[in-house]
């Protein structure tokens, strides 16, 4: 399964500035996030990070399909 992963805000500095293509057999958004954290040696923080899928909010247990675009939001810091 091939998906695209996008990072926002400070997660760009921690994971990738640009969207990445990701080959994975992960089932859920949560699986993908934990694989990413392991690869980048980051502590997962699902209490703070919010996932999106195809430009809509989703929950961590959302099942991922081939071609999906997954995004991860850190806490907002506008204003």
């Amino acid at each position: 399964m091939k998906i695209t992963i996008e990072f926002y805000g400070k997660l760009k500095a921690e994971f990738s500035e640009h969207p990445i293509e990701w080959q994975s057999d992960a089932v859920t958004v949560n699986d993908i996030y934990h694989q990413l954290c392991k690869q980048h040696q980051k502590q997962p923080n699902t209490q703070v990070i919010k996932p999106i899928i195809n430009d809509s909010f989703c929950d961590w247990q959302q099942v991922v399909n081939d071609g999906d675009v997954i995004g991860f939001f850190p806490p907002a810091s506008g204003g």
Partner: protein, 137 residues
């Protein structure tokens, strides 16, 4: 209504969106880019947003404010892109029959926007470094 803008915010044009003859009061908040943060000299800010979800979440906040407070009109606009010191980053304006509701709604919209709307601030410093800013609620 909640909007994002790549262009400089014009307070008078935004004010015109909430003025109405029913209202006896108008409260506005302008957030500006300041030249310092956490003892560092700031030279500019870059605001990044997820446009679709920022507008969606922002408009939900505006609707909440309309339901929660006795106000007539409310508008919030947030800049995105590169901002210089002194530029306006956010404008919130509320009109109401009486002042109390307008003050309360204005603060509510600002606080909710800072906490929930997917917008992120990257600060650039005098020493050439930069850093994504943590939420300042």
């Amino acid at each position: 209504m909640f909007t994002l803008s790549l262009e400089p915010l014009e307070a008078e044009a935004l004010k015109a969106k909430v003025i109405n003859p029913q209202s006896g009061g108008f409260v506005a908040f302008e957030g500006w880019v300041r030249n310092h943060n956490q003892k560092k000299e700031v030279t500019e800010l870059h605001y990044e947003a997820h446009e679709k979800l920022a507008v969606q979440v922002g408009n939900a906040i505006m609707q909440d404010a309309m339901n929660k407070f006795d106000i007539n009109l409310a508008y919030c606009c947030h800049r995105v892109g590169r901002l210089a010191i002194g530029d306006m980053a956010i404008w919130v304006g509320v009109s109401s029959d009486h002042r109390k509701a307008a003050f309360a709604a204005c603060e509510y919209i600002l606080n909710q926007t800072k906490a929930k709307v997917p917008i992120w601030k990257n600060e650039f410093y005098q020493n050439g470094e930069s850093g994504w800013v943590e939420a300042n609620l």
